[in-house]
Symmetry: C2
Subunit: 323 residues, 2 copies
């Protein structure tokens, strides 16, 4: 989010996070350095490290530890992306070629593993058993969610399962970023709980908007086909709303069961885009943002207003972003 | 090593470790439970948890923590096996079908990731920042070694690189098992260093013997082709000795460069088997066992002689085992 002015004042911190990530290849195989540079240069919003730096900045956490936590969280995210691309067979991400496109599956698996291991090492450096436990549990949550998604492809999801899935996939790590920063800042129990809730609500909103953007086609500009999830048999919120709005329409089931005729998938995607499903999904995301702001309102505002304001703008930005 | 009588007295502990591993699937996707049961029932010597229980037993560590560490170390080992099988395209391990044989690569990648995450959660439960740091670093060491092995396939290895590789691949985790158990037992610095050295030396011997057994064909009985490493372009100690014994013979290079004629690889394997390379490799393994026993001699023997004796017999067993 380098184009977002309200985050200008933490760009130096974000760069330190990136440097910290790059330094994880020091003394290791050159291919690892290449992989880290490739992935960092492929863009990415660094929204997770931004949350760490802002929450920590607000609550007065030590800068060096926050940079370590930010690097650890972003590397964990990166590791899951690398394995995701392998699992999806994705050759492009954000318009750039994935490791998966040019490397063997073996190299891609091991590169993801390496990022996991260095993320764990960075997390362990913080020397905080509570953060380490959250970290390990979050990793288990993310992977568990991916497994559930894999084994339930091509099946209809209900709302409750969708919410569980996007928590596992995204909100759990946003929560870890915010909660971990609060713990490092020695916030009291209540402060940690509000910070954690801010991260959770923001993460849920973020993933819903991601799922909307997959349909509205904005992401096509950066190299992904429209409705890539549905094409892979993954049901997201716009599809769930579409089904609720059209109870007699069985085209989603037909697509999932592989019984759709030619053109039917594209027609369905067009129907979803044209329906109220997108607007309703946005409303749901806005509900999460509202709750994120309520949590934020309970955090102390006096120590560092710039961070507090940026956390507020970040929450609003999540809904209005275009990629 | 359920057929090894000197370990009978820790079988209950080993079973607790296995139960602990199985319980990692509780509340998660049923496929994960299936994967854990499949892998545990496929055998395996549980040599790493045995080291944990014996070193901890000798030094008076708390049993519950030792079981947790044993489960964590074995799960980490299992995670690397799952990804290894995917990388090698192996369909059999210990004569049983691998997950890789029946699952998609995607499911196999995620199952390995899940085991990593649960291994990390178990490690974090120990609430010992020093162990957590060693744990994360060991994971990085193992993965880094696998990456180096992958990118250096089909190239000649020198002795120094081979030693580095088997440390990364095997001895690092044996070392973690022994050192972690000593740390949990609140051993003083010297005791921790000797325990750590015992694990290191034993792990080096273990991997050399593994590499020998790959050539002597004993492992063919349990479902692996003879010289599976060389067939994959991976150089091990018997090959290094063979080359030293036959400086004019370029057949190893020809095989690695893909220039060998039909039958030449099998002929080379026969030549290595018939040469003194196997005996020299065994002598090298025995050197490591000797140093493991020297380290053991420096550990206190009074508190639990049964564990001390078993650690001694375990070191000797490593050289004389047949699979």
């Amino acid at each position: 989010m380098k184009d977002v002015r309200f985050l200008d004042f933490i760009q130096e911190g974000i760069q330190q996070v990136e440097q910290r990530i790059l330094s994880q290849s020091d003394g290791h195989y050159p291919e690892i350095k290449f992989a880290l540079e490739h992935i960092l240069s492929s863009g990415g919003k660094r929204v997770r490290p931004a949350i760490v730096l802002l929450v920590g900045g607000l609550l007065g956490g030590g800068h060096a530890d926050l940079v370590t936590l930010g690097a650890s969280v972003e590397l964990l995210h990166t590791a899951t992306l690398v394995h995701d691309d392998l699992i999806d067979g994705a050759l492009l991400r954000r318009g750039n070629s994935t490791l998966n496109a040019s490397w063997t599956p073996a190299a891609t698996v091991l590169t993801g593993d390496y990022f996991f291991s260095r993320s764990a090492s960075l997390g362990a450096e913080l020397d905080d058993p509570v953060i380490v436990r959250h970290f390990a549990d979050t990793l288990a949550t993310i992977v568990s969610g991916e497994i559930a998604q894999l084994f339930s492809r091509n099946t209809i999801l209900d709302r409750e399962t969708y919410n569980k899935r996007i928590f596992e996939k995204t909100a759990s790590l946003f929560q870890l970023a915010a909660k971990g920063a609060a713990l490092l800042s020695q916030g009291d129990e209540e402060v940690v709980a509000y910070a954690s809730d801010y991260g959770y609500q923001l993460g849920m909103a973020f993933q819903i908007v991601d799922d909307i953007l997959d349909f509205t086609g904005e992401q096509a500009k950066v190299g992904k086909p429209v409705a890539s999830d549905l094409r892979q048999g993954i049901i997201t919120l716009p599809v769930i709303y579409y089904q609720e709005l059209h109870p007699g329409d069985d085209s989603v089931e037909r697509v999932l069961e592989g019984e759709a005729e030619e053109g039917q998938l594209d027609a369905l995607i067009g129907d979803i885009q044209a329906s109220k499903a997108v607007e309703l999904s946005y409303q749901e995301a806005e509900g999460y943002v509202k709750r994120a702001l309520e949590a934020l309102a309970n955090l102390p505002q006096n120590t560092d207003d710039q961070s507090w304001m940026a956390l507020k703008e970040l929450a609003e930005f999540v809904v209005f972003r275009k990629n």
